[in-house]
């Protein structure tokens, strides 16, 4: 009975799936093809070459910027995980009636938009900002700290703030499906709190940590606005360098090559992450 209906559903879904696939993949494929071309002033030379990738690998600047992007991403994943664990645990295990309120509160900053949040941090961390005023009022310092704003510190504070909700949501979902009996069993068997976390909670919430971590990782690696507006003179990112190459320099091939290098590394991370989630989700391997 339901089979014809299912078939109709498949057919109806087909154009949407096809359109989405095309829209998602086409630009990436165009980038991929371009990454093997070369440019002479404003003329794209359609002669396949690996020169662009060689240039990326050979350039200390681009290598450094790529490493910095992923280093920053890892750092922020780490910080958001450390903050996210207690928050997610609290929402999942201690909040009963107001759960949706807490989750909404967590997401409110996301509704306000990137720029608004970045400028809010400017206000907080600036020379005349709330943090400096408080420090001066408390007598900690006579002159405002210039280093708060326009520094890697400011960038990473804002990045953590921006992407924390994604980590918390990943972990929250994991905690929701974490049976309290497991941690109780660990306590029952003599495990102190640290071991209960290390040996039971951590491995059993690992899928959530990986999912949240991947989201944060990708978004931090791709965020150029926050470093640009809060990072000061050292706020350059690989993304803004790619932007320069596409825009002012009209070097689309080199820009594409860097973009694809980033994509390849991200896809590798996703692959490893997906594998880890599958391994840690304890689906029976069949008997």
């Amino acid at each position: 009975m339901s089979q014809p209906v299912d078939k109709i559903g498949n057919w109806l879904a087909l154009p949407v799936v096809a359109a989405l696939t095309a829209l998602c993949l086409a630009p990436l494929l165009i980038l991929f093809v371009y990454s093997f071309f070369q440019v002479d002033f404003v003329t794209i030379l359609h002669e396949p070459t690996f020169a662009n990738y060689a240039k990326v690998a050979g350039s200390e600047t681009y290598r450094g910027l790529i490493a910095r992007a992923f280093g920053s991403a890892l750092l922020v994943v780490g910080i958001t995980a450390i903050i996210g664990y207690p928050v997610a645990w609290f929402i999942a295990k201690r909040v009963v009636a107001a759960k949706s309120t807490f989750l909404t509160l967590l997401l409110v900053p996301l509704y306000s938009g990137d720029l608004v949040r970045i400028f809010a941090w400017r206000v907080l961390l600036g020379a005349e900002g709330a943090v400096n005023r408080s420090l001066m009022w408390l007598g900690v310092t006579d002159t405002p700290f210039g280093g708060l704003l326009f520094s890697p510190l400011a960038t990473h504070i804002a990045l953590t703030y921006n992407y924390l909700p994604f980590m918390v949501i990943g972990l929250w979902l994991a905690f929701e499906s974490l049976d309290d009996a497991w941690t109780e069993a660990a306590a029952d068997l003599g495990a102190p709190a640290v071991d209960r976390f290390r040996r039971v909670t951590l491995p059993l919430t690992l899928p959530g940590l990986i999912a949240g971590g991947l989201m944060v990782f990708v978004m931090v690696a791709g965020d150029y606005l926050t470093p640009q507006l809060l990072g000061g003179a050292s706020g350059i990112t690989i993304i803004s360098a790619v932007n320069d190459l596409f825009g002012t320099a009209f070097d689309w091939p080199l820009g594409s090559a860097i973009a694809w290098t980033m994509l390849a590394i991200l896809m590798l991370c996703f692959g490893v992450g997906a594998l880890a989630i599958r391994r840690s989700s304890f689906i029976s391997e069949g008997t």
Partner: protein, 367 residues
Amino acid sequence: MTALHNSTQTKESDRQGRPLLEAKGLFKSYGKVEAVSGVDFSLAENSYVTLLGPSGCGKTSILRMIGGFEDVTSGALVLDNVRMDHIPAAKRPINTVFQNYALFPHLSVAENVAFGLSYQNVPKSEISKRALDALKTVRMDALADRRPRQLSGGQQQRVALARAIVNAPRLLLLDEPLSALDRRMRKDMQIELKELQRRLGMTFLHVTHDQEEAFALSDWIIVMHDGRIEQQGRPEEIYACPSTAYVADFIGGATCVFGEVVEREGDKVVIDTPIGRHLVPGVSTLSTGAPAALCLRPEQLTLAKAGIAAHVKSCVFRGSDWIIECEAADQVMQVVVGVNPPAQGALVHVHFDPDRAWVAAASRGDL
């Protein structure tokens, strides 16, 4: 049976030496809801004790307080003469078999069993051997490398047992351990649990709502009702001499005919009920004028030429016999009949031996 009636009920402390665990005036409330309302009991060494009662009676709260998963609201828990209600769960020499086993899904069977040993003074080299020994005890050593999700319910149950007993706890808590198993598996596991307790000489405290299970396993049964202990004693005592109508009804499904004590005559009381006045053995604390219940078990009733006149309401075939429901003076009684059940609506006479019946305490509200 009569001999039992005549003896005073045993105190569990008389059973064997000093108690392993004592609960003194134990209270547990969640906000305004009182789950356990002042409970006293003690557990003897090397015994199988059951906390029996319907869901919501507070039995699980008691188990969780002993395990250390819930704080004690007031009262004390004393284990081996040391107060332990402020000691964290991880430091109590007590282990638990959880209702849904709570096996760690990310660890193999062997790793699950070895988990607790890393917190005992067991040399590293010996841990896996001990874990395997524990698995042998429950005949699960062949599946030591499996993950819990690859096991059947009964197999998981055995692993959970092995994981708990491998630590040689002073007390083993079992929270409705058989409720997730099918009937046949449950019977097999009951025998195994009892046998295991004997072999280990360990005290088991088992929570269940199934009175048959309690009778099959226990040396001692604590019947709970509404956060209080309704009665505790040896299974035979509880069955034969229920102290209240509630216990009589919950254990063995006795028909309780409510009435009033007219007079006491030694161990027996005269009770006035809608089905007549009878001289029957009863609870020793019943005084004249007290509300009481005449407890009649189906197997104690027979159909006879003379007796209480009743109408047959229904007959249910049980295989080996029939259960007849008949009504007299608005009281419904169940009678077991071997052959030739009467027709529905027929007039019958119900007979019972007053010496084999029992009078339990009741409250005014039951009348």
